[in-house]
Symmetry: C3
Subunit: 308 residues, 3 copies
């Protein structure tokens, strides 16, 4: 089995069937990481380049571990050691990397759309590992896998996403993904963090977290990315936390079997209180575990076997 | 054979039998690095993460080479490219890495006790690759292996450690290790670099290097780590070097078969003169060679075979 | 087959036969990178250290991919994470790395002659990956391979090298290489970028690019390395570009089957116009592709099989 596409650039472009194929493939790879010998020979001799223009422990590590567990060769390039400092364009970097015959380039980039540009320039597969405030498809796929594991389905669930919706590629990918699989998505956050017209991509908007979580099956808390805001979007962190941070008190109004997701790294005490992050509703570490499986599945479905 | 413990956090916690098992296992791995094909399949499919919060060429490289020669997959994470810059706690980093199913995390950290905290949070093995001024157990193990190879034994030897005892994790690990194996350890250095009560962990204290080396079988010179001192601990480097640096003149009073160790990287002309560092008494490069073997042994004894 | 030398430090030191052996070996390795399983077991269990004191995406990545496709273990050390910051000398770094039993050290260094010093200190092979303004032998080898593929030969061709000859290790290596293989090399650039006496190593000198390219079979444009010049060597980038940059207009006077090389990364619109860089005469991406094959050949010829 193989995806009939070269790249994974966004959830927006994936069909429901494609998403379900990725999730079921990822489920089948989970047990590899539970073995003593956490390695399958499937992608031996394939070359995967992790090209990261933004720092990231967990995403780069997750892709690198996934590549190695599939027996592929993984090459890491980060901006700090790259010729980006010499002013090379993305196109030239792309064409040069392609000339070394990689099978896949995993790209994280601060500019929305960079992976799409890269994918046009290279014949090999491109996976978007997060581009600006556009999309982060492998994150949404691992979120969907985590929810599907818990509830046995995604259709009909109420998903509430809380935080800086306007700047969040995680939110955008998840809105596309969960609505395609039949869930109802509500987004909530301060007005300054809510992009106008977000309803057009299929979600509802709420202004009060208490309203938005009362009927939620899944609450996804977004990271407050202070480092990305040129001007402050709310008066103080304390005020943000009081109004939109998730703590035990706010959670009292939620369903008994609600689950909490967060893409990490978490700001403890800002968007999520420690007792919630570490508590019984939290699936945060399941998300990380599923991240490796989803990325193994993406590599397998893009590079493995023969293309149909 | 396997150690009956999950982690290697300190020499203080190891028994004499455990140390001897590690040393004899390391001896048996030395020949692997002398082969054309420097690789054994023992740890194929195991994932080892090198998590370094302080820069280090030799220690990180030594662990990485050791992992690869055991056929394990090695993943490097350094602070410069990590989400540490995003303010994540060590606990969250730990739980997140654990969720990716590593078999071992090798941690270097500027804070004493960080590896112990990490080890409590994760089910996988943790090896302390140097924590603050606490311990650096793999360094002491390679030092013990180097001395044992030269003298055929450690019991009864006189070991003199010279330099900044108060700030040296290498000194602390070696004091514990050599005294457990029956050697007599003397430490010497300026009063400002001598922690009060250091005698309580089993060593003697001297204030003059000439006294301390006259009867020594092994002289271990510590690196002067100027980068760690907030206030100067001696008036000038020249004065330190004159009083506590090892040169040919001071060495005249030593035993004919004395050997010199240094954990590196050396400050030539400060704590050790070039003719001593490169001379016939120096075992500095044997230490580096034994470092790879000791780390292969640690990986083997923690991860290899089935736990008893 | 194996080279009867330990190191590749310069093209100057290689004989014509050695260069031809490397090129023909590289040709035979090219198809490995075209396979699905881009890997041969030849150098399994060999340890190759990429020691880079200058940032470089393409060169480090090319060596790393070459090592992995030969099944060697590749270890990357860059200055940002190395104990260089602790002031260790190159000699001590060399002896310490050697003690870990690598089979080859690939060195990039800002100082001319550093690889030669390293090679004296270590028993393992050393490959110069660019040292100051001295040489960059693997670059010249991939350039020669690219030209040989296109023309079927090198003897008798006219090679014109344009730009900052004085600061270019690429120019020096190529002058030696192409003249050894029987080509005629002409260098052209502003007088401030032309080293006095460059004719003595076998090339002709021209001051006008139009003169120098009219009879050229190969035009090699050098990168303007603004970051290396302590004082400006020409009034403005625009003036440099007008006088010595290659564009369609200047190329009108060239031969119909002329080819354009550039070591990359290119400064579009400075030394080369975009329509030339991406146009039909450009072999820039063939150079990159051949870079992996040349480096696989170097590893094979230095480390593979048994030394004669």
């Amino acid at each position: 089995m193989r995806l009939k596409r070269k790249d994974i650039l966004s959830i927006e472009e994936l069909s429901k069937d494609e998403i379900e194929l990725i999730l079921s493939t990822a489920e089948s790879f989970k047990e590899v990481s539970e073995r003593d010998i956490k390695k399958v020979p499937t992608l031996r001799g394939r070359t995967i380049i992790n090209l990261f223009y933004e720092a990231s422990t967990r995403t780069r590590t997750s892709f690198e571990i996934a590549a190695k567990r599939m027996s592929a060769d993984a090459i890491n390039i980060s901006t700090s050691s790259s010729s980006v400092v010499k002013g090379e364009t993305l196109k030239d970097t792309a064409k040069n990397l392609e000339a070394m015959n990689p099978d896949c380039i995993v790209l994280r980039h601060p500019s929305s759309g960079a992976p799409e540009i890269l994918a046009k320039y290279v014949k090999c597969s491109v996976i978007n590992a997060g581009d600006g405030s556009h999309e982060h498809p492998s994150q949404a796929l691992l979120d969907m896998l985590t929810v599907k594991e818990r509830f046995g389905k995604i259709e009909g669930l109420n998903i509430t996403i809380v935080g800086d919706i306007a700047h969040s590629r995680v939110a955008r990918s998840n809105i596309y993904g969960f609505t395609k699989l039949g869930a109802k998505v509500t987004v909530v956050g301060p007005p300054t963090m809510m992009p106008s017209g977000i309803e057009n991509i299929g979600c509802s908007v709420s202004n009060r977290i208490e309203d938005a979580i009362s009927n939620a099956d899944v609450i996804m808390m977004l990271r407050i990315q202070l480092e990305r805001h040129e001007v402050p979007l709310f008066p103080t962190i304390r005020e943000y936390s009081r109004l939109f941070g998730l703590d035990s008190k706010k959670l009292e109004t939620a369903k008994k079997d609600v689950v909490i997701l967060h893409p990490g790294p978490i700001n403890r005490g800002v968007e999520i209180s420690p007792e919630i992050a570490d508590g019984p509703y939290s699936l945060i570490l399941d998300q990380v575990k599923n991240g490796v499986a989803v990325r193994m599945a993406l590599f397998y479905l893009l590079l493995g076997g023969s293309r149909e």
